[in-house]
């Protein structure tokens, strides 16, 4: 069993007891209700820690994936022979179910947060490489020739023309990768590093309904917030697309 930060108390209604006599505080925790304000106030610290771990794991994996994806996409764009293997390999990685991916990495990383991050990097990589490559390929040849005609060298062409024009597609990929990563972090509970997934996992073992629902809702909220944040960042980074629309 992976260690988890959740409460270990059995919260289910005891068989045989009618609830009234044996449960002195007749609050929603004792009644094991799905929605429970007392849970939020009494477990604030646990929830904050889980959310922070969730955010750290997501941010770390997406950041590493981005650092790897840009050179891979550039290589696939530059050399035609590299495109097939890069796309093929990332697609194969993406097909492997998350639980199996984490398990395959177990001999390399052990029961650590690094395992979860490595697994998530491999998933995000596929989405990012595909989208960045699509963005780079969509840069019109005329634009490229115009830049060359203006005397742009290969590096300046890449940094000042191609990458900015590929940005909208790359941002779309980044949003999908981030939202997926937020949801997949929960599977990290199998090795005890799943952020909110840990709370879901321990809540499942103790039949703690309020904990499972609260952690699940927080997960979705993080995903939606991250998506909106990246959407806003994308708009700020690419003002020209807004003016067009």
């Amino acid at each position: 069993m992976p260690p988890n930060g959740g409460p270990r108390r059995a919260r289910g209604p005891l068989p045989g007891s009618n609830g009234r006599v044996t449960a002195p505080p007749d609050d929603c925790l004792a009644r094991n209700e799905w929605i429970c304000g007392a849970y939020l106030s009494s477990r604030r610290e646990i929830l904050v820690d889980a959310v922070l771990e969730h955010l750290q794991l997501t941010a770390a994996s997406v950041a590493v994936a981005l650092l790897l994806a840009v050179p891979l996409a550039l290589a696939a764009r530059r050399w035609r022979w590299a495109a097939g293997p890069v796309l093929g390999l990332t697609t194969i990685l993406y097909t492997i179910p998350s639980l199996a991916m984490f398990s395959l990495l177990l001999p390399l990383y052990g029961l650590s947060a690094a395992l979860v991050i490595a697994g998530l990097v491999l998933y995000s990589l596929t989405l990012l490489v595909r989208n960045i490559l699509a963005g780079l390929r969509a840069v019109p040849e005329e634009t490229r020739q115009a830049a060359r005609g203006l005397g742009y060298g290969p590096l300046r062409l890449l940094l000042a023309v191609e990458l900015p024009l590929a940005l909208p597609a790359a941002m779309a990929g980044l949003r999908i990768a981030t939202v997926s990563a937020v949801s997949l972090v929960t599977v990290g509970a199998i090795v005890g590093h799943g952020g909110l997934g840990n709370l879901i996992y321990s809540g499942m073992n103790t039949f703690f309904k309020a904990q499972v629902l609260t952690a699940s809702v927080l997960c979705v909220l993080i995903a939606v917030a991250a998506d909106l944040l990246l959407l806003g960042a994308g708009r700020l980074l690419t003002p020209w697309t807004r003016r067009q629309a």
Binding site: M1, S98, S103, L106, S183, V187, I200
Partner: protein, 223 residues
């Protein structure tokens, strides 16, 4: 590379393949879950998507459903359903969770496929006096088939992955070998289970891809 040889010896031990916890039984469970849920999801999603696509209505819902499905953690839904009263009816909570995650890609792809059929072709068919039903089944469906099949392939791979996760929430399937390995702190068993799951997922993906390559040609011939 001690783990590799240990994993190999786990995989080649006959005792690990037979019995109720054996690979063959778990593979059967996994296959059964995937096939049944794929069938149910297709029966739910495809008619809805075809009719919506034919009428050109509900597009926002059909397209956004995939995004919503991505934001909701599969593991959370599996556990939530397990804790509801449905959870006490054996595999039903697993089946419902699997179907919930297979429907969005089916719906979105089939809807987009139907909408991307060349409008000129649709207008020509109408001009020839085709009824809505004939148009849907004789023109739009065959032309949308490639994308519909893409949706089916994505849904199938998604089902294999979700069925694996179901083991965490007490369901059957190949994922059980992995979770049992974690409980036994047996890295070789965890890795062996993961290899089996990965191989199964890749097999399903390539089978559907092969099927997809054959199908559009038939669609083109009839169209």
């Amino acid at each position: 590379m001690n783990t590799l040889s240990d994993t190999w010896s786990w995989l080649t031990t006959a005792a690990h393949w037979s019995g109720p916890d054996g690979v063959w039984n778990r593979l059967g469970e996994h296959l059964f879950l995937t096939a049944v849920c794929l069938l149910i999801s297709c029966l739910i999603a495809l008619p809805v998507a075809l009719v919506l696509g034919h009428l050109g209505k509900g597009g926002a819902l059909a397209v956004n459903l995939s995004n919503i499905g991505r934001a909701v953690p599969t593991f959370a839904v599996l556990v939530l359903l397990l804790l509801t009263p449905i959870g006490s009816y054996g595999q039903w909570s697993t089946i419902i969770a699997l179907v919930l995650f297979a429907v969005p890609p089916l719906l979105t792809n089939a809807y987009v496929g139907m909408r991307e059929v060349d409008r000129d072709v649709v207008r020509a068919a109408r001009g020839m006096g085709m009824t809505g039903r004939q148009l849907l089944l004789g023109v739009e469906l065959p032309l949308a088939l490639p994308l519909i099949l893409t949706g089916v392939r994505i849904a199938a791979v998604q089902l294999v992955a979700t069925a694996t996760l179901a083991a965490l929430a007490g369901g059957g399937g190949l994922g059980r070998i992995i979770t049992a390995g974690f409980n036994l702190a047996s890295t070789p068993q965890v890795v062996a289970g993961a290899i089996l799951v990965a191989a199964f997922a890749l097999l399903v993906e390539s089978l559907f891809e092969a099927g997809q390559r054959l199908a559009p040609q038939r669609g083109r011939r009839t169209a």
